[in-house]
């Protein structure tokens, strides 16, 4: 077949920033297949050097507006490990609640506002307003509810205020717990029609064997905030050995670093977590998986969106359970902390190195800090999920393009956009993909 194809999709990404999809086929042979990341670097790791470890959460939260709570949690975990601080049981419970809200909020946004328009054949949620106004209103209502819960729990969702090294600077009382509970019951109600809508969607068919990486553990809990790092190829390492998991490397076409483990690439995110830990999901989440036809081991990356929906059910139920538990036991208000940059020496500090590994919406996120005995950051390193997925996306594209060469340019471009979008690399990049330039 002497097909020539040149796809050049320009887009902007959120954290990793500006990028393009570039595909070149000459005489039926795939020459180039890249996801180019051309964002100007922001140098967070360099900015952190010489600063107080007690500022790390505030600063690294600003890496990403969507994952601000996830970055905060990874940062705090790494910082506390570095200085040798052990958080209380109540603190850990509230952090789990925050992480559930983060994953739920982000997944709802991706499923409804990013993935659904493609699957329903419109350009954006503005197009959905015509035939699916109820769904748009439901999506915005669910997002608002997640947002409102975060307002109550940590002051706000974008760059949370009260979750810091040492604990929380503000704690919910009975009234606040009641309010969060009511909001989550409403989310639970809105999830049923969401699942019903998702069950009608047809996801593209595509399979490619790869390695799935995420947190794993020996207890019965679906691991999001603690555990070792494992893979479907049987790798298991302590989070402190994350560099032996990510094996980051640089390529000239991407200012975001790439990653690989046992194969040429690996995948992180909701689908990876589902493949690794499906047996630990809440029963309601298992029901959701059955309703949308998601079964382990799933090797269709387009179904990452379906796995996100499954996690929505899990996070909602687990968040409700945590709140009900806190309502029963009560929250101890005396645990509220006043930390600042620890000028009041409320938190003992020792020199050390610490790693945080947290399952945020797009996959496993690592933060690593080294501090001196004053708690001043000597070295900092963040490994972001989207970066870890880049090589896997390119490998998918390499297999996908030859399978689609009998289709039109438009169909191929859309299939590639939807593929990248399924990884939910970030909100803005995904919608911007639609600026497409095809040259024959």
């Amino acid at each position: 077949m002497s097909r020539n194809l040149s796809v050049n999709v320009e887009f902007l990404t959120r954290v990793e920033g500006h990028g393009h999809i570039v595909v070149d086929v000459a005489e039926g042979v795939l020459k180039t297949c890249q996801l180019q990341i051309v964002e100007a670097p922001r140098f967070f790791e360099a900015m952190l050097q010489g600063r107080s470890i007690f500022e790390a959460q505030h600063i690294t939260s600003r890496i990403c507006g969507i994952c601000a709570c996830g970055h905060s949690l990874a940062s705090i975990q790494a910082a506390e490990a570095a200085i040798g601080f052990t958080p209380s049981e109540q603190t850990l419970k509230l952090r789990k609640l925050l992480l559930h809200m983060e994953n739920l909020d982000s997944h709802v946004l991706h499923i409804y506002l990013l993935a659904a328009p493609d699957l329903l054949g419109v350009k954006s949620f503005m197009g959905l307003m015509k035939d699916h106004a109820d769904a748009v209103r439901r999506a915005l209502r669910m997002k608002k509810a997640c947002n409102d819960v975060c307002d109550i729990l940590v002051g706000r969702h974008v760059h949370p205020i009260s979750c810091v090294v040492g604990g929380f600077t503000m704690l919910p009382g009975p009234k606040e717990l009641e309010a969060m509970h009511a909001l989550l019951l409403q989310v639970r109600e809105d999830l049923a029609p969401t699942v019903a809508l998702a069950a009608t969607l047809e996801f593209p068919e595509f399979e490619r064997q790869t390695e799935y990486v995420g947190l794993i553990s020996d207890d019965g809990e679906y691991p999001l905030l603690s555990g070792d790092v494992g893979s479907t190829d049987g790798v298991r390492k302590a989070k402190e050995d994350y560099r032996a998991i990510t094996n980051e490397f640089l390529l000239p076409h991407s200012s975001a670093k790439h990653a690989r483990l046992s194969r040429s690439s690996y995948m992180v995110g909701a689908l990876a977590r589902f493949n690794l830990n499906h047996d630990k999901l809440h029963p309601k989440a298992k029901e959701t998986a059955a309703a949308v036809g998601l079964k382990p081991l799933c090797t269709n990356p387009y179904l990452n969106t379906a796995a996100q929906l499954v996690e929505c059910a899990h996070c909602t139920e687990e968040a409700i359970a945590i709140i009900e538990d806190l309502m029963d036991r009560g929250v101890d208000p005396s645990e509220a902390v006043i930390v600042g940059i620890n000028e009041n020496h409320s938190i003992p500090v020792q020199a050390g190195s610490g790693v945080g590994a947290v399952e945020v919406p797009r996959g496993i996120l690592f933060h690593h800090y080294q501090v001196d005995e004053q708690g001043i950051i000597q070295e900092a390193n963040c490994v972001i999920p989207t970066g870890q997925n880049l090589q896997n996306i390119e490998d998918d594209m390499h297999k996908l393009v030859p399978e689609l060469l009998d289709r039109s340019d438009e169909e191929i471009t859309l299939a590639l956009e939807m593929l990248v979008r399924a990884y939910d690399p970030c909100i803005s990049c995904s919608t911007h993909f639609l600026e497409v330039d095809i040259v024959r």
């Binding site: 902007l12 100007a40 670097p41 140098f43 505030h58 600063i59 954006s124 974008v158 600077t169 639609l434």
Partner: protein
């Protein structure tokens, strides 16, 4: 006359401020009834080739490409709103200006720094004229609505030029200094309703300093706590470094 054409843009930032707008939830739909939203990557893919009545720009200028983009936006719009600390004062992006850019590049990219060019961080108004400012990291949604209304009506919006402490007192918070920690409220512009202190944390100065900050006084107070002066300077420069590094 049709509804005003409004577009949202982002330069180098976390895009959390546009998320704050998207997070208005169903209220967003009410805002949409007043304007003709022609570009907003966060929630739509449609593109507009004409002139913007109002361009709302987030993020800092950090390379030649973003400088060119913001100049193009300015050329195509009647009114420009800079929103979020990255756009208005440089924000956390400015911290990298405190050391040579080559050092930061080497720290992140080792010997591959040539692959990823970067410049010092600049605010939007260090490159083009800005008509309205919405400070904050992230922006405070009620202030966003207030400025949007003013801009649409052609009225001016004076940014509060008094300290966060004023709002903090109204909110009846116990002063963070009385709790033994330092807070940038005394030298930081109000307008956020003392958001962070209400939630038990300190003010990090994300809205920028008041126009006549009593810096010496503030440093005296800080010194009383026998703190490492470098830590304090760091703290004051978390958001303001881009302004300082070019004003000096």
């Amino acid at each position: 006359m049709g509804r005003p054409k409004v577009a949202f843009f982002d330069l180098s930032c976390c895009e959390g401020c546009q998320l704050q707008v998207a997070n208005l939830g169903e209220d967003l739909l009410d805002v949409l009834e007043l304007i003709d939203l022609v570009e907003f990557r966060e929630v739509m893919s449609e593109k507009w080739e004409g002139r913007y009545d109002l361009a709302i720009v987030e993020g800092s200028v950090v390379n030649d490409e973003s400088e060119q983009r913001v100049r193009q936006i300015r050329d195509r719009c009647n009114v420009l709103i800079a929103y979020g600390s990255c756009a208005t004062i440089g924000g956390v992006n400015g911290m990298k200006n405190r050391r040579p850019i080559e050092e930061s590049q080497a720290a992140v990219y080792g010997d591959k720094t040539d692959w990823f060019p970067a410049t010092k961080t600049r605010t939007v108004d260090q490159v083009v004229k800005v008509d309205y400012y919405i400070h904050g990291c992230p922006i405070y949604p009620p202030e966003f609505i207030k400025v949007l209304k003013a801009a649409l009506a052609g009225l001016s919006y004076p940014v509060p030029d008094f300290a966060v402490c004023v709002e903090c007192k109204f909110n009846e918070n116990v002063c963070m200094y009385d709790k033994g920690v330092t807070c940038l409220g005394p030298i930081t512009r109000a307008g956020c309703n003392s958001w962070c202190i209400n939630a038990g944390n300190v003010c990090y100065g994300c809205r920028g300093m008041v126009s006549n900050p009593n810096r010496n006084g503030a440093e005296d107070v800080l010194r009383r706590y026998d703190l490492n002066p470098e830590l304090i300077a760091n703290k004051m420069m978390m958001y303001n470094a881009a302004k300082e590094s070019t004003d000096e």
